[in-house]
Structures are given as C-alpha cells and as structure tokens.
Symmetry: D2
Subunit: 160 residues, 4 copies
C-alpha cells in the first residue's frame, strides 16, 4: 500500500510565527511529516504540498490546481489535509475524480498543540483508506463519510 498525502494548509499545519511582534499563526511544513515520524508506518508514502492556506482563503483556482494535481497522480490512495471551514466544499469539488480513494481530514487544533486532535484524525483517515473503495470522503471527529453524506454542526464545529 502507498498513500499520497497532500498539504493544503488549515489549522492542522498552523505554527507559531518566527518573527517578533506577530499575533496570527503561519503555515509552514506539513504536520503529516511529524505525525508519520511517530507512526513509523509499514506503508510507503509521499508528501506533496498543493498550497498553504487557511481554508476560508481557498479560491476556485486553488481547487482547480488541487484537482489537477490529484488527477495526474499514478497512486490511487490520497489523503488531503485541509482547513475545517471549507472541507466539504473542496470534497464536493473533487468528486468528479474517478478511480481514486480520496479522504480529506484536518484538525480542530494545530498539530503543534499537545492537546491536538491532528494525530488521531490522520490515523482515522489512514485506517479508512486501508479499506475504502474509490470515492471522496471526509474523516473528522472519528467518523468517515462520503462527501455528500457528511454534515457539520456550525455552532460546535463538529462533523457528524
């Protein structure tokens, strides 16, 4: 089994800025690198970066770029890390892709936080991609559902 991980930014990758005087986060290296180092996986993998954006900033052009990037991949198992605010929009956008299993996941707290959900969420996506047939899915809060079946409680932010 080989998994292709694609970074698009979002909370999971938010880190503290190196410059002084800053207030907001910055997005740097994919958190996936640090999580897979802990896992020491038996599957082979590659980590690609599509873009590094808060998901509210993602535009149509970004989604076209991501779609093309995935279509051109030979590998069929793809996990996309993504900001939580427009994860379903991007999942729907990718749903035209055939013959690939694509799972979008992310985190409510940055992977850099010791109380983050990032490691377990990525684990959920990895566990599901071992088994799932082609399609586009979202994995958040421990549930894995098709892009057109997952829902979000906008008040709590929880997917179900």
């Amino acid at each position: 089994m080989k998994i292709t991980f694609i970074q698009t930014g979002g909370t999971i990758d938010k880190d503290y800025p190196k410059i002084t005087g800053g207030w907001a986060f910055e997005i740097d290296k994919p958190a996936v690198e640090r999580i897979l180092e802990k896992l020491d996986p038996s599957f082979s993998f590659e980590i690609l970066s599509a873009f590094k954006k808060d998901s509210l900033m993602i535009e149509d052009g970004d989604r076209i770029q991501l779609l093309k990037m995935i279509e051109e991949l030979e590998n069929q198992k793809i996990i996309v890390t993504h900001g939580t605010d427009t994860m379903i929009e991007t999942a729907n956008y990718l749903s035209t892709i055939a013959n690939k299993t694509i799972i979008l996941t992310g985190a409510m707290k940055p992977e850099r936080f010791y109380n983050s959900d990032a490691s377990i969420n990525l684990g959920v996506a990895v566990g599901a991609i071992n088994v799932l047939s082609p399609g586009v899915y979202v994995a958040m809060h421990g549930v894995v559902k098709k892009h057109n079946e997952i829902k979000r409680d906008l008040e709590s932010g929880k997917y179900f």
Copy 2:
C-alpha cells in the same frame, strides 16, 4: 455508530509508578480515555477493562474471559487495546466470534510519551471500524489486516 473499547493492558497503557523506588512501569487507567478526550468524537462509545497485563503475561484464562466479554456485548464494533508482543495470538483466539467487527491495536511507546504512536494507532482502528465488515483484524504501523494475514518483523517489532 457506537464503538466499545476494551482495555487489556500493554505498552499503550503503561504509566510511571506513583511509589518511590520503582523501576518498572505500572498499568492504570485506559489511555483510550485521554485520546478520545482530544478527539471529541461524534460516535458514541463505552470503555471497558478486561484486565491490565503486559501481553507476555496474558494466559489462556485471560483470553477466555476476553472472548466471553465480547460475545456478551450487544454492540458489534469493538476495538481492543493490547500489548504488542502477543497481539496476533489473541486476535487468532478471538476469531471464532461471529457477526462482530473486532480490531486489536496498541502502541510501541506508552500513550504518556509525547512521541507515542498511541493516538494515531487508535485513530487507524477507529477509521477502519467505520468501514470494515465483521471479522477480527489487527491495526498497527498504519496497516489494517485480518488476524491471519498480518505479520510481524520480530527484529524491528513492526507489523506489516
């Protein structure tokens, strides 16, 4: 979806002893509690404890007890946290159980360690149990396989 988590002990649950003068670990509360607190899951769950043993210490009587515990459960989705040294033996032992999806997982480093694989391993089991049909499986090092298909490299300790 409801998941029943069952503690049997093993590395994942090893904690530092409270008493002075100690050298070995002790096994206390299930690490699953602390991991699910970070996940904030959308599925319902219960956490049970069968026993608290290093997996080299598990005897036939323990496995009988675990088997009966699972058979008596109404719920059909069960994740068993287990020591890594005899995980496959226990999985094989449980393979007579029909109509339930049972996944065994654990960790190479205790969940208390900041560089532990526990959170991601449990995530892998949770992701797989969303999808898998009944049977007994092992989820370690990012792969999920049937109890009679998973193998272990005895030198590195890695499952594949």
Copy 3:
C-alpha cells in the same frame, strides 16, 4: 515560601480559539496553572490575573493597574507572565516598587505547544526567586538579569 503569579497575557497564554472561522489566537486561562500542576510544588502560591493582552497592546493604564496590584500585595515574591515584545518596558515601569522581588517571564511559543519554552522559563523564574533579593528582573532564554541590565536581540528575539 509563597509565590504570587500574575497573568498579563502574551504568547505564553495564547490558545486556539474555540469559535469556527478564526485565524488569530485568543488568551484564556493562565498557562501557569497547567505548568504548576506538572511541578506539584512544595511552595504555596496564588495565581492572579491583571489583564489578558498581547504585549504590543499594553497601555500606560494597564501598567498603572499592574503596579498598584503588586504594591497592594502582602507577599514579596512575585512572578509576572508577560508578552515578550514589551517585557523590558513593563519591567522598567515596575522598578519603583521597593521591598519586593519581581521577576517577569514569558515564552517564545505558547505553553499549549509541545515544543514550547514556557515550562522551563517559568522554572527559571521560580528558581531565581528562591534566591534573589528585592528588585525587578527579567528571566528569559535561561538568563536572569536586572530590568536595566537585560537586553534583547531584535532580530532573533532572544534576551541576553
């Protein structure tokens, strides 16, 4: 020995916002609470909050409030957690206070980060306050110096 810890905000206390759609941090409970829980200290202590501000936002009125708060304390050993960008300004401002040992400290990364310097910085301040005579000091990057002797490299952000 009794230590009074006073929160003023800053990087050390920055946490991830609970609301959806956010990009910036928010400042909530004092990180000192979580650090002291790990330390399990033999000294007695109290934790007060003066205000919760990024240190670039601290105004004269805030510093007057902090000064009065410290002057009215009976206790003579005070550790102030503070943002790193105006720590020296506040230390200089407090230098009129007599007969109290006051140490300002903070962090380059939020305490919530697993790679944070918060715990060790607070430790440095606690270790120094065991020993120091009255005066106003800054404890950062492992050095403890009088308010008018500490300096900061503005490029790297390091105190020395």
Copy 4:
C-alpha cells in the same frame, strides 16, 4: 555564563526500550539535550555523562567518579541530573568541593512523558545557578535548598 550539565541517569532520562518483550525502562541520551533545544538558551553550555543509573543502583565508586569529574572541571556552574531516590546522599557526598556552585535536580516522571516535571525542574536549577554563590544544592518541587537543609517526605516523594 556557562553551565556544565552532567548526566548520572535517574527517572528524568528514562526512555522506553527499543527491544521487543521489555517491561522496564532504559536510560539513553540526556534529557537535558531535548529540554535545552526548547529553551534555546543565551548561556553557553556543555553536556557530559558520568554514568546512566537508576539512583538506587549508584555505588560509592560512582560517586567518587562524579566527584573527580566535577573537581577537574574549569567551569564553576554545574547542574547534575540525578535519580530522586538518593539525590541527597550524592549531594552530601559532593559537599567537600570548594569554589563551585553545584545543583542536583531530576524528575518525578521521565522527560519523555508529556506530563513530566523535567523541563520545569531543570529551569528551576538554571534560574538558581544564575544567582547562587558556591555550594551544593538540591532543586526539586520548585524549592532550592542547601544539601544539608533539603528534606524529603518519603511517603509522597516530595522534597521541601
């Protein structure tokens, strides 16, 4: 300021064994390395290893070796990381050394644990060594006292 850190083993350095089938901890690289990486100190330092033992295993020969190692150092500020069970015995043993400031510290939980006191304890020792005049001290649970003034509650394990 230059600080010489000397590893002797103990809980602070306990790590999980790499081999399969193990139950007890092993002592490997000094935890000080990982803690100082987070601190990014402004002082210069060196990290030496005297031996790697649980402190109940330390014998007279080990203490002689440590004593000689410290006496031969040019540097005058020394922090010794040590197991908690015989920390006071070793501190008393070193008290014949003149003209050096020596602080012994350690941890109740291994530095590898996310809820460890290791980082803050080392910080306490670093903060105190900025200020203290020559002598032998113990820094644990947030208090720093001379080797012949520190006491331990044998039931809770707490120093005071």
